[in-house]
């Protein structure tokens, strides 16, 4: 190739017959490489696409996700006979003209009886709870749900966020349990869960075990503790993939 040819304007350079034949394969190769690049960047080709840099997480210090906050701040669930002493007592305390005024000693005796009854009811309720727990059942929470000052028209949070919250709060693991701090920083387990509409864990399986027995055991304990969600779900949730890792504990594990 002479320098004169190199100095010719680009418009004058025509591809030879061989270059023309190679143009197609070149373009195909270029396109495939571009797709490969996009694939890796999008994270659907690599087996571990997550970056190692510390991500930013939202930490909600005030509101734990509630499944149905549109319920506003309702009264506690309808009083059962065992727990329904308060309304009855209120009814009895209404002034009644037709009844003669009770003597103070009789009132005192009544209050003693009421107290004793109340105590007995509480004890019975506790025994029922123990019995349920002995049979492996989870006692449903009897707490108010919803958000303070809610109007009852708010949208609920995503059901998977609710499950996330329950699983996380039931997951107990100390960083001191993980002997190899370097491995622990990258540890991860994938579990596939299915929850029924009533909030019962129908089953789970490990898609990927972490390789650390303590880590996997802690997850199993969290799942056993989460086998009954405190509230039902809007619908059956099938094949939820829960990824357990320690990304937010990395910094505290580095010194060991």
């Amino acid at each position: 190739m002479t320098s004169a040819r190199l100095l010719r304007p680009a418009s004058e350079v025509r591809p030879g017959p061989l270059a023309g034949r190679l143009l197609g394969p070149y373009l195909v190769s270029l396109l495939l490489h571009a797709l490969l690049l996009i694939g890796f960047a999008g994270g659907w080709l690599g087996s571990s696409p997550r970056s190692d840099s510390l991500p930013v997480y939202t930490v909600d210090l005030v509101h734990k996700p509630v499944l149905n906050p549109q319920a506003g701040r309702p009264e506690p669930r309808t009083a059962s006979p065992a727990a329904g002493a308060a309304p009855n007592a209120a009814k009895l305390n209404l002034p009644d003209k037709h009844l003669p005024a009770e003597k103070p000693s009789a009132r005192a005796a009544d209050s003693h009886v009421n107290e004793a009854l109340q105590k007995l009811r509480e004890e019975q309720a506790l025994q029922q709870k123990f019995a349920a727990l002995r049979q492996g059942q989870t006692v449903p929470a009897e707490i108010r749900v919803g958000m303070p000052n809610a109007k009852g028209t708010e949208e609920g949070v995503d059901a998977s966020a609710y499950i996330h919250s329950v699983l996380q709060s039931n997951w107990a693991l100390s960083s001191y349990q993980l002997i190899d701090s370097i491995k622990a920083a990258k540890i991860e387990a994938w579990v596939v869960l299915t929850y029924s509409k009533s909030g019962r864990l129908e089953g789970f399986r490990f898609d990927k075990e972490s390789g650390d027995i303590q880590f996997d055991e802690s997850i199993k304990r969290a799942l056993v503790k989460s086998q009954q969600l405190p509230q039902p779900l809007p619908a059956r949730m099938e094949n939820i993939r829960a990824i357990f890792n320690l990304k937010e504990m990395k910094a505290s594990m580095g010194a060991r």
Binding site: L31, L35, G42, W44, Y57, K129, F130, A132, L133, R134, S160, I163, H164, L167, Q168, S169, N170, W171, A172, L173, S174, S175, Y176, Q177, L178, I179, S181, I182, I213, Q214, S218, K220, R221, A222, V224, K225, M237, N239, I240, R241, A242, I243, F244, N245, L246, K247, E248, M249, S252, G254, A255, R256
Partner: protein, 430 residues
């Protein structure tokens, strides 16, 4: 053209299919509870008369050891229900519902039996959510072994929950002046049962346990010169191992126990040497101008961390034992001293002088991630690792008095273990 269209359509379809297959995904990037809720019940008498002191000591030792371990959040004993007062040690006999209600994830229950001087302790660790036994041990010993039994069970608990045995059923050697001279002493990990090992009536310094924990190296001025001695712990037999002219100090067993490193100043300049266990010099390891002291082996025995003033102020250096090459490890302080290489190999802890006192720091062997572990008050020196690399024991000088302290390797959980003492060394599990 059809080729390009079909290729593009195929790629788009693949992307869609991958997205559909992934389904709903939840990422939980930290546990909600970063300590395991533990219920530690009081040990109960099996039959015969109750000996409250046994139950109290079991409780006290287990509580202290497990608290130092850092794994646990203790469930308040005031909240315990009637199962805490029941003897049942089989998982079918435990009312797990009660413990679940209290939020406990692991439960410790136990019984003891005293027959004359003989003590039998049955201890159990249960997994509450899964309602199963995790670990169970039956210990038989004398009545005075109760603390040791509790330490041994604490070690088993750590093994069950971390995969690695704890270091509590071990001993700490240290230097104390409580007999009027600087002598070598031995005590339990919690500072109990101190026992004097030497009667040199001189100055004894710098003990180091052999990898088996059955022997000790130390320096003594008994013969007027700082010579290196070797002592068998159980028989009390003692030999002078190195008595070269000048210093024979800071002897450290190699991890295989087949040789040792120490500082000799036989040629005037303190240098580090490798000695056979007979005391014969095997190799001179440093040859620089300046003081080279305080060797500490890497767990694989291939490298030594030591202090050198070859570049001016004392700094930590790393020596490749086979190749003889040296590199500087620390560069931030003006005076770094007494390095100790973690048994796991991942960190080196050392003392650094800042102002008029020392504080402890730890650093990775590649020189990265330097962290300060102590922040006063007092001068923290002579750090040594527990055999499992989880804890550190060190001395703190305050008001002219030296005491022994202990903490987790990350600088948390510090506590005093002995009101008087210096130069500690932690043995292997006893």
């Amino acid at each position: 053209m059809w080729f390009w269209r079909s290729l593009l359509a195929g790629v788009l379809l693949a992307v869609c299919l991958v997205d559909i297959a992934a389904g709903a995904e939840i990422e939980i990037s930290a546990p909600g509870q970063q300590a395991i809720p533990l219920a530690l019940t009081r040990f109960l008498p099996q039959d015969g008369a109750a000996v409250p002191a046994v139950a109290e000591e079991m409780q006290e030792v287990l509580l202290a050891d497990l608290d130092l371990a850092g794994l646990f959040r203790f469930v308040d004993p005031q909240a315990f229900l009637d199962d805490a007062g029941k003897i049942g040690l089989f998982s079918t006999q435990v009312d797990f519902g009660q413990w679940q209600l209290l939020g406990a994830e692991v439960l410790i229950k136990g019984i003891y039996n005293v027959q004359g001087e003989q003590l039998t302790v049955e201890a159990r660790l249960f997994d509450v959510p899964n309602r199963r036994l995790l670990a169970g041990r039956r210990f038989v010993g004398r009545l005075q072994d109760v603390r040791r039994i509790a330490h041994a069970f604490a070690d088993e608990i750590l093994k069950t929950l971390t995969g690695e045995k704890g270091p509590f059923d071990a001993r700490i050697a240290f230097i104390s002046t409580r007999s009027g001279h600087k002598e070598l002493w031995l005590m339990d990990v919690d500072g109990r049962n101190p026992l004097r090992l030497t009667d040199h009536r001189s100055i004894v310094l710098n003990p180091d346990f052999s990898p088996t924990g059955k022997e000790l190296l130390f320096t003594s001025y008994r013969a007027g010169n700082p010579d290196l001695y070797r002592k068998e712990v159980f028989t009390g037999r003692e030999v002078r191992l190195s008595s070269q002219a000048g210093l024979n100090i800071a002897g450290r067993y190699a991890p295989d126990g087949g040789s040792l490193a120490l500082t000799l100043s036989r040629d005037g300049d303190p240098e580090i040497y490798q000695l056979a266990m007979t005391g014969a010099i095997r190799k001179r390891l440093t040859t620089s101008f300046g003081v080279d002291v305080d060797p500490s082996w890497s767990p694989d025995g291939r490298q030594l961390a030591f202090v050198s003033s070859r570049l001016g102020s004392p700094q930590i250096f790393i020596l490749d034992v086979a190749g003889g090459t040296t590199r500087r490890l620390t560069a931030n302080g003006k005076y770094d001293a007494t390095p100790a290489w973690s048994p796991k190999g991942d960190r080196i802890v050392f003392a650094r002088q800042e102002g008029n006192r020392f504080d402890l720091f730890s650093i990775r062997p590649d020189g990265s991630d330097e962290r300060r572990l102590t922040f006063g008050p007092g001068s923290a020196e002579h750090p040594r690792w527990s055999p499992d690399g989880r804890f550190l024991v060190y001395s703190v000088e305050k008001g002219g008095k030296k005491a022994l302290w202990m903490m987790r390797a990350d600088g948390t959980g510090w506590r005093q273990v002995a009101a008087e003492g210096s130069h500690p060394a932690w043995s292997a599990v006893w």
